[in-house]
């Protein structure tokens, strides 16, 4: 995933183009401070983190340790107080608000904790939405949305609104919406947070499959150890710092061989 943000109008130039492909995500001393003076909170405190293409990273840690802040930072939704963040070689700190929107549009997929689907809008249209902003023509857009919904096992539910779907189905729609653009990087904040364990495993199998078979890089926040076992790398946060960053042996990757769930 070396070519950086491409858009008809704005194309921030990448440094080191043509050289060895830079890491997808490269944090150097990223610090995020909320509030000032006594009320100052260091949500992230000098974080160094590199995520390469094709990885599946689980981000863990106690509540308030900075997991969501980190994920939002990776997703270019938030800007750091200090430090450097390069996305595929592009310094995100120098991008404008609109350029960051373009970066999200073309390279990122989000699965939010609370599903965050549009109410009173069919599953199909929810999934189509990111394609609208990519200026994909209507017919093509519907075809791809149908495909994405089929990939998450929701054939026949295309015209249901979120209110007519179960929690697990809603989360699948959210996953379909995130993958319909074939993003370089999929970000998921507690994708199984509100789901029972059976449904959680189904979602995790789905993510694993996307990672293994489509090569989509995934960064996922979770506080459940079981869900973390699906990832190949675990990063643990504590008080805004990374305290553990370790690879899991390949043979212990669940679902890696296809349907070998824990």
């Amino acid at each position: 995933m070396s070519p950086p943000i491409a858009d008809r109008t704005e194309r921030p130039r990448a440094e080191g183009e043509g050289a060895a492909p830079p890491a997808l995500v490269a944090f150097r001393g990223i610090t995020k401070i909320y509030g000032t003076g006594m009320a100052e909170v260091r949500a992230l405190d000098g974080v160094d983190l590199t995520i390469g293409a094709g990885e599946f990273v689980a981000i863990m840690g106690p509540s308030g340790s900075g997991k969501s802040t980190c994920l939002n930072m990776i997703g270019c939704l938030d800007t750091s107080t200090s430090g450097s963040y390069r996305f595929a070689g592009v310094e995100v700190g120098t991008l404008s608000r609109n350029q960051r929107a373009l970066l999200r549009r073309h390279y990122l997929g989000f699965v939010f904790q609370g599903y965050n689907l549009l109410k009173r809008t069919s599953a199909l249209e929810n999934v189509e939405m990111p394609l609208v902003y990519r200026r994909v023509p209507g017919r093509e857009r519907r075809r791809r949305a149908h495909e994405a919904l089929a990939a998450v096992g929701l054939q026949g539910r295309e015209h249901h609104t979120p209110a007519e779907l179960s929690g697990g189905q809603q989360q699948r729609v959210a996953v379909a919406r995130a993958i319909v653009t074939a993003p370089a990087l999929l970000l998921a904040d507690e994708p199984t947070g509100n789901l029972d364990s059976t449904t959680s495993r189904e979602i995790m199998d789905l993510l694993t499959e996307l990672n293994v078979e489509r090569g989509i890089t995934i960064a996922m926040v979770t506080h459940e150890e079981e869900m973390a076992t699906y990832a190949r790398r675990i990063v643990r946060f504590l008080d805004g710092r990374i305290v553990v960053d370790r690879e899991r042996p390949a043979d212990r990757v669940p679902g890696g061989g296809g349907g070998l769930a824990v």
């Binding site: 929107a101 939010f112 965050n116 009173r120 939405m129 209507g138 919406r177």
Partner: protein, 402 residues
């Protein structure tokens, strides 16, 4: 992109159909009121100006006294006499016809029929000055005019009332105590805008009316027609100079008579409608302002309600201006629909009221286009602040919003 945004906006408005329709009510009423008023007013104006020009565009009316136009006191003054008429004929060049007139109310009697009307004493020149052809018969001869013979021309209404289907030519009717022979009938002109019957009068030679019916030598009014429209200004100037001289009005003194051409009368009518238009414009501006504030209010509510949706869109890669466009389109569509409904309502109202008020229904496309554009402009203007608020939301805050 723009098309799917429009569809989205329409659906969003349709979801809150009740709220949307209440929101546009202000604009509907404002635009509707203005469209109906302007349409009716335009109909009345076109009718009046049509009538004025049918009087003949070269016609000049001279009357004693001055007509107050914008308040003030009407000044009474001595009437004209036959010598004035003769002097005008002699001394003012480029006139086509000079017709003096004196009027008296009278009851015309023929057999058992009688009809209360007005008898106008004048000359044959009247027909030329007012461009009024005869339906039948002949005009007065010079001899009859000189002698003050009791001959008369009937207006179409008088003919109907006295003779019905009988032939009036050659018949003798009685005007008060005098007998009078009918020599001709005028063409019918119908009702004027103000509901006046223009055909309800009898013409007789000036001298005959003065002698037999009025009993003085006064001339109440003079119709002068210029040979061409271009000559009216010169004729008007010459008339004023001659009459000032004859009525011995010193330099610096005001005229005690009025010389008016049809263009001036038309101007008076138009200035009256101009005031009306300004007034309507003010009503329109106020109602559009109120309507616009209503739209702004609802759009602010809508942006707050949909904060999460905005957050999702921003997070999924919508740029600020795309969100701005979405909300701006919604407010503009809202006010445009209001404008369209208002236009339809206004036209419907005018179409119903026009026959009832007796004015023609004249559809003015300009005012419709203006109303449409203005209502659109209101949507853009008052939708901008809420739309900008939506566009500037922080995606994370918006996603967390409950």
């Amino acid at each position: 992109m723009i098309w799917s945004t429009i569809r989205l906006a329409l659906r969003e408005l349709g979801r809150n159909a009740m709220r949307s329709s209440l929101t546009i009510l202000g604009i509907v009423i404002g635009v509707g009121a203005v469209i109906s008023m302007v349409t009716l007013g335009g109909g009345a104006t076109s009718q009046i100006t049509g009538e004025i020009s049918s009087l003949g565009s070269n016609l000049i009316i001279v009357r004693p006294g001055t007509q107050p136009q914008h308040g003030g006191i009407q000044v009474q003054a001595a009437p004209f006499d036959r010598a004035d008429v003769e002097a005008i004929v002699r001394e003012v060049p480029n006139t086509e016809a000079v017709a003096p007139m004196t009027s008296a109310p009278t009851v015309a009697v023929f057999g058992n029929a009688n009809w209360s009307t007005t008898v106008n004493g004048t000359l044959s020149a009247y027909l030329a000055a007012r461009d009024w052809p005869l339906a039948r018969g002949r005009a007065f001869t010079e001899g009859e005019e000189q002698a003050g013979a009791m001959v008369c021309l009937l207006g179409a209404t008088v003919q109907d009332e006295l003779f019905g289907r009988q032939d009036p030519l050659g018949a003798s009717i009685r005007l008060g105590s005098a007998a009078c022979r009918v020599v001709g009938v005028l063409e019918a002109r119908g009702e004027s805008t103000f509901g006046m019957d223009q055909d309800d009068f009898i013409l007789a030679p000036l001298r005959a009316v003065q002698r037999r019916l009025v009993g003085d030598d006064d001339v109440d009014l003079m119709f002068v027609s210029a040979q061409s429209e271009a000559a009216t200004a010169q004729v008007q100037g010459d008339l004023e100079r001659l009459l000032r001289q004859r009525r011995r009005i010193g330099a610096g003194q005001e005229d005690d008579f009025t010389v008016q051409d049809m263009a001036e009368i038309a101007t008076i009518v138009e200035s009256t409608t101009g005031v009306l238009t300004t007034f309507l414009g003010a009503i329109a501006a106020i109602s559009l302002l109120v309507g616009g504030i209503g739209i702004m209010n609802i759009m602010l509510v809508s942006v707050t309600e949909r904060t999460r949706e905005i957050g999702i869109r921003l997070a999924l890669g919508a740029q600020g201006h795309e969100v701005l466009l979405q909300f701006l389109l919604e407010s503009t569509l809202l006010s445009l629909v209001g404008g369209l409904v208002g236009i339809a309502l206004g036209l419907g109202l005018a179409a119903v009221a026009a026959p009832w008020l007796g004015v023609p229904f004249v559809l003015d496309p300009t005012i419709i286009v203006i109303a449409f554009l203005f209502s659109g402009a209101v949507g853009i203007l008052f939708g901008y602040v809420p739309a900008r608020r939506a566009a500037r939301l922080d995606p994370i805050d918006a996603l967390r919003y409950e």
